[in-house]
Symmetry: C2
Protein backbone atom coordinates (compact mmCIF):
# COMPACT_ATOMS: atom_id res chain seq x y z
CA UNK A 1 0.00 0.00 0.00
CA UNK A 2 2.35 2.73 -1.15
CA UNK A 3 1.07 6.06 0.06
CA UNK A 4 0.64 8.53 -2.76
CA UNK A 5 0.50 11.60 -0.54
CA UNK A 6 -2.91 12.79 -1.62
CA UNK A 7 -4.41 15.97 -0.30
CA UNK A 8 -7.34 18.22 -1.12
CA UNK A 9 -5.25 20.45 -3.34
CA UNK A 10 -3.95 17.61 -5.51
CA UNK A 11 -7.46 16.25 -5.91
CA UNK A 12 -8.84 19.61 -6.98
CA UNK A 13 -5.95 20.16 -9.38
CA UNK A 14 -6.63 16.80 -11.00
CA UNK A 15 -10.34 17.60 -11.16
CA UNK A 16 -9.63 20.99 -12.73
CA UNK A 17 -7.43 19.39 -15.38
CA UNK A 18 -10.18 16.93 -16.25
CA UNK A 19 -12.95 19.50 -16.59
CA UNK A 20 -10.80 21.83 -18.67
CA UNK A 21 -9.57 19.09 -20.99
CA UNK A 22 -12.62 16.85 -21.21
CA UNK A 23 -15.57 18.98 -20.19
CA UNK A 24 -17.68 19.25 -17.08
CA UNK A 25 -19.54 16.00 -17.84
CA UNK A 26 -16.29 14.08 -17.47
CA UNK A 27 -15.84 14.91 -13.81
CA UNK A 28 -16.31 11.72 -11.80
CA UNK A 29 -14.59 10.38 -8.71
CA UNK A 30 -13.55 7.40 -10.80
CA UNK A 31 -11.83 9.63 -13.37
CA UNK A 32 -10.07 11.67 -10.70
CA UNK A 33 -8.94 8.50 -8.93
CA UNK A 34 -7.61 7.06 -12.17
CA UNK A 35 -5.67 10.24 -12.85
CA UNK A 36 -4.11 10.07 -9.40
CA UNK A 37 -3.42 6.31 -9.58
CA UNK A 38 -5.65 5.62 -6.62
CA UNK A 39 -8.91 3.80 -5.96
CA UNK A 40 -12.05 5.95 -5.67
CA UNK A 41 -12.70 5.32 -1.95
CA UNK A 42 -9.26 6.72 -1.12
CA UNK A 43 -10.48 10.15 -2.14
CA UNK A 44 -12.91 10.13 0.78
CA UNK A 45 -10.02 10.47 3.20
CA UNK A 46 -9.56 14.02 1.92
CA UNK A 47 -12.90 15.07 0.49
CA UNK A 48 -16.55 14.72 1.48
CA UNK A 49 -17.64 13.54 -1.95
CA UNK A 50 -18.17 14.64 -5.51
CA UNK A 51 -20.32 17.58 -4.52
CA UNK A 52 -17.55 19.06 -2.41
CA UNK A 53 -15.16 18.71 -5.32
CA UNK A 54 -17.56 20.60 -7.55
CA UNK A 55 -17.93 23.27 -4.94
CA UNK A 56 -14.15 23.64 -4.71
CA UNK A 57 -13.95 23.88 -8.49
CA UNK A 58 -16.43 26.76 -8.39
CA UNK A 59 -14.36 28.46 -5.73
CA UNK A 60 -10.98 28.21 -7.44
CA UNK A 61 -12.66 29.07 -10.73
CA UNK A 62 -13.99 32.35 -9.38
CA UNK A 63 -10.68 33.08 -7.69
CA UNK A 64 -8.67 32.40 -10.82
CA UNK A 65 -11.04 34.50 -12.91
CA UNK A 66 -10.58 37.39 -10.51
CA UNK A 67 -6.80 36.92 -10.54
CA UNK A 68 -6.90 37.09 -14.32
CA UNK A 69 -9.10 40.16 -14.49
CA UNK A 70 -7.64 42.24 -11.68
CA UNK A 71 -4.16 42.84 -13.17
CA UNK A 72 -5.70 43.45 -16.59
CA UNK A 73 -7.68 46.49 -15.51
CA UNK A 74 -5.27 47.71 -12.85
CA UNK A 75 -4.44 51.36 -13.36
CA UNK A 76 -6.86 51.77 -16.24
CA UNK A 77 -10.13 53.68 -16.37
CA UNK A 78 -13.18 53.93 -18.57
CA UNK A 79 -13.30 52.21 -21.95
CA UNK A 80 -9.73 51.07 -21.66
CA UNK A 81 -10.41 49.31 -18.37
CA UNK A 82 -13.59 47.72 -19.68
CA UNK A 83 -11.95 46.33 -22.80
CA UNK A 84 -9.04 45.04 -20.76
CA UNK A 85 -11.45 43.25 -18.44
CA UNK A 86 -13.37 41.83 -21.37
CA UNK A 87 -10.26 40.47 -23.04
CA UNK A 88 -9.05 38.91 -19.82
CA UNK A 89 -12.46 37.37 -19.23
CA UNK A 90 -12.63 35.90 -22.71
CA UNK A 91 -9.11 34.57 -22.45
CA UNK A 92 -9.93 32.87 -19.16
CA UNK A 93 -12.96 31.14 -20.60
CA UNK A 94 -10.82 29.87 -23.46
CA UNK A 95 -7.99 28.68 -21.24
CA UNK A 96 -10.28 27.13 -18.63
CA UNK A 97 -13.61 26.26 -20.22
CA UNK A 98 -14.49 23.66 -17.60
CA UNK A 99 -13.51 25.74 -14.61
CA UNK A 100 -15.39 28.67 -16.12
CA UNK A 101 -18.60 26.67 -16.30
CA UNK A 102 -18.27 25.97 -12.61
CA UNK A 103 -18.00 29.67 -11.84
CA UNK A 104 -21.51 30.08 -13.28
CA UNK A 105 -23.15 26.84 -12.14
CA UNK A 106 -23.10 27.56 -8.45
CA UNK A 107 -23.63 24.67 -6.04
CA UNK A 108 -25.80 25.99 -3.27
CA UNK A 109 -27.00 29.47 -4.21
CA UNK A 110 -25.77 30.66 -0.85
CA UNK A 111 -22.13 29.77 -0.49
CA UNK A 112 -20.70 32.74 1.32
CA UNK A 113 -17.07 32.12 0.44
CA UNK A 114 -17.78 31.84 -3.28
CA UNK A 115 -20.14 34.80 -3.12
CA UNK A 116 -17.41 36.88 -1.51
CA UNK A 117 -15.01 36.10 -4.32
CA UNK A 118 -17.70 36.77 -6.89
CA UNK A 119 -18.34 40.16 -5.36
CA UNK A 120 -14.71 41.06 -5.94
CA UNK A 121 -15.24 40.56 -9.65
CA UNK A 122 -18.37 42.68 -9.57
CA UNK A 123 -16.45 45.37 -7.70
CA UNK A 124 -13.82 45.31 -10.41
CA UNK A 125 -16.40 45.93 -13.11
CA UNK A 126 -18.17 48.55 -11.02
CA UNK A 127 -14.89 50.36 -10.50
CA UNK A 128 -14.11 50.32 -14.21
CA UNK A 129 -17.49 51.90 -14.89
CA UNK A 130 -16.96 54.58 -12.27
CA UNK A 131 -16.20 57.51 -14.54
CA UNK A 132 -19.34 57.00 -16.60
CA UNK A 133 -21.21 59.11 -14.07
CA UNK A 134 -24.07 56.66 -13.72
CA UNK A 135 -26.73 56.90 -11.06
CA UNK A 136 -26.44 54.25 -8.39
CA UNK A 137 -29.31 52.36 -9.91
CA UNK A 138 -28.07 52.62 -13.45
CA UNK A 139 -24.65 51.48 -12.34
CA UNK A 140 -26.21 48.24 -11.16
CA UNK A 141 -28.03 47.84 -14.46
CA UNK A 142 -24.82 48.56 -16.34
CA UNK A 143 -22.81 45.99 -14.40
CA UNK A 144 -25.49 43.42 -15.04
CA UNK A 145 -25.40 44.35 -18.70
CA UNK A 146 -21.68 43.99 -19.00
CA UNK A 147 -21.72 40.69 -17.17
CA UNK A 148 -24.47 39.48 -19.48
CA UNK A 149 -22.43 40.41 -22.53
CA UNK A 150 -19.27 38.79 -21.22
CA UNK A 151 -20.93 35.61 -20.06
CA UNK A 152 -23.27 35.33 -23.01
CA UNK A 153 -20.54 35.80 -25.56
CA UNK A 154 -18.12 33.42 -23.86
CA UNK A 155 -20.76 30.81 -23.28
CA UNK A 156 -22.04 30.87 -26.85
CA UNK A 157 -18.50 30.69 -28.17
CA UNK A 158 -17.73 27.72 -25.89
CA UNK A 159 -20.83 25.87 -27.01
CA UNK A 160 -20.00 26.44 -30.66
CA UNK A 161 -22.88 28.85 -31.07
CA UNK A 162 -21.10 31.11 -33.55
CA UNK A 163 -20.99 29.43 -36.91
CA UNK A 164 -19.46 32.11 -39.07
CA UNK A 165 -15.70 32.33 -39.45
CA UNK A 166 -15.83 36.11 -38.98
CA UNK A 167 -13.43 37.17 -36.26
CA UNK A 168 -15.10 36.70 -32.96
CA UNK A 169 -12.99 39.10 -30.89
CA UNK A 170 -14.16 41.78 -33.30
CA UNK A 171 -17.77 40.89 -32.48
CA UNK A 172 -17.22 41.17 -28.76
CA UNK A 173 -15.46 44.48 -29.16
CA UNK A 174 -18.29 45.85 -31.25
CA UNK A 175 -20.98 44.83 -28.76
CA UNK A 176 -19.11 46.41 -25.92
CA UNK A 177 -18.31 49.51 -27.93
CA UNK A 178 -21.96 49.94 -28.83
CA UNK A 179 -23.06 49.26 -25.26
CA UNK A 180 -20.64 51.80 -23.82
CA UNK A 181 -21.50 54.40 -26.41
CA UNK A 182 -25.17 53.97 -25.68
CA UNK A 183 -24.53 54.02 -21.97
CA UNK A 184 -22.98 57.46 -22.25
CA UNK A 185 -26.19 58.83 -23.69
CA UNK A 186 -28.59 57.29 -21.26
CA UNK A 187 -27.16 58.52 -17.99
Amino acid sequence: MPRVGLDLSKIIQAAAKIVDEQGVEAITLAAIARDLSVKPPSLFNHVQGLSQIKRELSLIGVKMLYDTMQPASDGKLGDEAIFALANAYLQFTRDHPGLYEFTIALPHPKDEEIEKEGNKIIALITEALRNYQLSEENAIHAVRGLRSILHGFSSLEQKGGFGMPLRKEESLNLVIKAFLTGLDQIK
Copy 2:
Protein backbone atom coordinates in the same frame (compact mmCIF):
# COMPACT_ATOMS: atom_id res chain seq x y z
CA MET B 1 -48.23 -6.68 -18.84
CA PRO B 2 -50.67 -3.86 -19.52
CA ARG B 3 -49.51 -1.83 -22.49
CA VAL B 4 -49.15 1.82 -21.65
CA GLY B 5 -49.06 3.03 -25.23
CA LEU B 6 -45.68 4.69 -25.08
CA ASP B 7 -44.26 6.55 -28.01
CA LEU B 8 -41.39 8.91 -28.69
CA SER B 9 -43.53 11.97 -28.14
CA LYS B 10 -44.76 10.90 -24.71
CA ILE B 11 -41.23 10.10 -23.63
CA ILE B 12 -39.92 13.49 -24.73
CA GLN B 13 -42.83 15.27 -23.05
CA ALA B 14 -42.08 13.50 -19.79
CA ALA B 15 -38.38 14.31 -20.17
CA ALA B 16 -39.19 17.97 -20.84
CA LYS B 17 -41.34 18.16 -17.74
CA ILE B 18 -38.55 16.72 -15.63
CA VAL B 19 -35.83 19.07 -16.89
CA ASP B 20 -38.06 22.12 -16.51
CA GLU B 21 -39.22 21.20 -13.02
CA GLN B 22 -36.12 19.58 -11.57
CA GLY B 23 -33.23 20.79 -13.71
CA VAL B 24 -31.10 19.24 -16.40
CA GLU B 25 -29.17 17.10 -13.92
CA ALA B 26 -32.36 15.23 -13.06
CA ILE B 27 -32.83 13.78 -16.52
CA THR B 28 -32.28 10.02 -16.31
CA LEU B 29 -33.96 7.11 -18.02
CA ALA B 30 -34.95 5.87 -14.58
CA ALA B 31 -36.73 9.15 -13.78
CA ILE B 32 -38.53 9.23 -17.11
CA ALA B 33 -39.59 5.60 -16.71
CA ARG B 34 -40.90 6.28 -13.21
CA ASP B 35 -42.91 9.22 -14.48
CA LEU B 36 -44.46 7.04 -17.18
CA SER B 37 -45.06 4.07 -14.84
CA VAL B 38 -42.81 1.84 -16.88
CA LYS B 39 -39.50 0.03 -16.40
CA PRO B 40 -36.41 1.68 -17.90
CA PRO B 41 -35.73 -0.99 -20.57
CA SER B 42 -39.19 -0.40 -22.04
CA LEU B 43 -38.05 3.00 -23.20
CA PHE B 44 -35.60 1.36 -25.58
CA ASN B 45 -38.49 0.16 -27.72
CA HIS B 46 -39.04 3.78 -28.73
CA VAL B 47 -35.74 5.54 -28.21
CA GLN B 48 -32.08 4.75 -28.85
CA GLY B 49 -30.98 5.79 -25.40
CA LEU B 50 -30.49 8.78 -23.14
CA SER B 51 -28.37 10.64 -25.69
CA GLN B 52 -31.18 10.59 -28.23
CA ILE B 53 -33.58 11.93 -25.64
CA LYS B 54 -31.22 14.81 -24.93
CA ARG B 55 -30.92 15.47 -28.63
CA GLU B 56 -34.71 15.56 -28.98
CA LEU B 57 -34.93 17.97 -26.04
CA SER B 58 -32.52 20.30 -27.82
CA LEU B 59 -34.63 20.10 -30.95
CA ILE B 60 -38.00 20.80 -29.36
CA GLY B 61 -36.36 23.46 -27.20
CA VAL B 62 -35.11 25.36 -30.23
CA LYS B 63 -38.44 24.90 -31.99
CA MET B 64 -40.43 26.12 -29.00
CA LEU B 65 -38.12 29.09 -28.56
CA TYR B 66 -38.65 30.04 -32.19
CA ASP B 67 -42.41 29.58 -31.85
CA THR B 68 -42.33 31.92 -28.87
CA MET B 69 -40.22 34.57 -30.55
CA GLN B 70 -41.73 34.59 -34.02
CA PRO B 71 -45.23 35.86 -33.12
CA ALA B 72 -43.72 38.37 -30.71
CA SER B 73 -41.80 40.27 -33.38
CA ASP B 74 -44.23 39.65 -36.21
CA GLY B 75 -45.18 42.89 -37.92
CA LYS B 76 -42.78 44.96 -35.84
CA LEU B 77 -39.57 46.67 -36.89
CA GLY B 78 -36.52 48.23 -35.26
CA ASP B 79 -36.38 48.82 -31.53
CA GLU B 80 -39.93 47.62 -31.05
CA ALA B 81 -39.18 44.29 -32.71
CA ILE B 82 -35.96 43.85 -30.76
CA PHE B 83 -37.59 44.49 -27.39
CA ALA B 84 -40.44 42.19 -28.27
CA LEU B 85 -37.97 39.45 -29.15
CA ALA B 86 -36.04 40.04 -25.95
CA ASN B 87 -39.12 39.83 -23.77
CA ALA B 88 -40.27 36.64 -25.47
CA TYR B 89 -36.80 35.14 -25.10
CA LEU B 90 -36.62 35.97 -21.41
CA GLN B 91 -40.11 34.64 -20.80
CA PHE B 92 -39.22 31.37 -22.50
CA THR B 93 -36.14 30.87 -20.35
CA ARG B 94 -38.28 31.46 -17.28
CA ASP B 95 -41.06 29.12 -18.36
CA HIS B 96 -38.71 26.41 -19.61
CA PRO B 97 -35.36 26.70 -17.86
CA GLY B 98 -34.39 23.10 -18.50
CA LEU B 99 -35.42 23.03 -22.12
CA TYR B 100 -33.63 26.31 -22.63
CA GLU B 101 -30.37 24.87 -21.35
CA PHE B 102 -30.65 22.15 -23.93
CA THR B 103 -31.03 24.71 -26.70
CA ILE B 104 -27.54 25.96 -25.81
CA ALA B 105 -25.81 22.70 -24.89
CA LEU B 106 -25.88 21.14 -28.32
CA PRO B 107 -25.27 17.40 -28.61
CA HIS B 108 -23.13 16.91 -31.66
CA PRO B 109 -22.03 20.32 -32.92
CA LYS B 110 -23.26 19.29 -36.34
CA ASP B 111 -26.89 18.28 -36.07
CA GLU B 112 -28.39 19.61 -39.27
CA GLU B 113 -32.00 19.55 -38.13
CA ILE B 114 -31.28 21.50 -34.95
CA GLU B 115 -28.99 23.86 -36.80
CA LYS B 116 -31.76 24.56 -39.31
CA GLU B 117 -34.16 25.51 -36.51
CA GLY B 118 -31.49 27.61 -34.86
CA ASN B 119 -30.93 29.49 -38.07
CA LYS B 120 -34.60 30.47 -38.10
CA ILE B 121 -34.07 32.23 -34.78
CA ILE B 122 -30.99 33.99 -36.10
CA ALA B 123 -32.96 35.04 -39.16
CA LEU B 124 -35.61 36.51 -36.90
CA ILE B 125 -33.06 38.64 -35.10
CA THR B 126 -31.35 39.60 -38.32
CA GLU B 127 -34.68 40.70 -39.76
CA ALA B 128 -35.48 42.79 -36.71
CA LEU B 129 -32.15 44.55 -37.13
CA ARG B 130 -32.73 45.20 -40.80
CA ASN B 131 -33.60 48.89 -40.64
CA TYR B 132 -30.46 49.77 -38.70
CA GLN B 133 -28.62 50.04 -42.01
CA LEU B 134 -25.69 47.93 -40.90
CA SER B 135 -23.02 46.65 -43.24
CA GLU B 136 -23.23 42.93 -43.85
CA GLU B 137 -20.30 42.37 -41.55
CA ASN B 138 -21.59 44.60 -38.80
CA ALA B 139 -24.97 42.91 -39.02
CA ILE B 140 -23.29 39.64 -38.11
CA HIS B 141 -21.50 41.29 -35.21
CA ALA B 142 -24.75 42.88 -34.07
CA VAL B 143 -26.66 39.60 -34.14
CA ARG B 144 -23.91 37.95 -32.15
CA GLY B 145 -24.06 40.84 -29.72
CA LEU B 146 -27.77 40.62 -29.22
CA ARG B 147 -27.64 36.87 -28.80
CA SER B 148 -24.87 37.31 -26.24
CA ILE B 149 -26.95 39.79 -24.29
CA LEU B 150 -30.07 37.63 -24.36
CA HIS B 151 -28.31 34.40 -23.48
CA GLY B 152 -25.98 35.95 -20.94
CA PHE B 153 -28.74 37.74 -19.12
CA SER B 154 -31.09 34.76 -19.09
CA SER B 155 -28.38 32.36 -18.08
CA LEU B 156 -27.14 34.52 -15.22
CA GLU B 157 -30.68 35.04 -14.00
CA GLN B 158 -31.36 31.29 -14.12
CA LYS B 159 -28.21 30.52 -12.18
CA GLY B 160 -29.09 33.07 -9.54
CA GLY B 161 -26.27 35.35 -10.62
CA PHE B 162 -28.13 38.57 -9.90
CA GLY B 163 -28.24 39.14 -6.19
CA MET B 164 -29.87 42.53 -5.96
CA PRO B 165 -33.64 42.82 -5.77
CA LEU B 166 -33.60 45.65 -8.31
CA ARG B 167 -35.99 44.88 -11.13
CA LYS B 168 -34.29 42.62 -13.58
CA GLU B 169 -36.43 43.32 -16.63
CA GLU B 170 -35.35 46.92 -16.23
CA SER B 171 -31.72 45.82 -16.41
CA LEU B 172 -32.24 43.88 -19.60
CA ASN B 173 -34.10 46.77 -21.17
CA LEU B 174 -31.32 49.17 -20.30
CA VAL B 175 -28.58 46.97 -21.75
CA ILE B 176 -30.47 46.55 -24.97
CA LYS B 177 -31.38 50.20 -25.12
CA ALA B 178 -27.73 51.17 -24.68
CA PHE B 179 -26.60 48.59 -27.18
CA LEU B 180 -29.06 49.75 -29.82
CA THR B 181 -28.29 53.40 -29.23
CA GLY B 182 -24.61 52.71 -29.61
CA LEU B 183 -25.21 50.58 -32.65
CA ASP B 184 -26.88 53.51 -34.40
CA GLN B 185 -23.73 55.56 -34.04
CA ILE B 186 -21.27 52.95 -35.17
CA LYS B 187 -22.85 51.93 -38.46
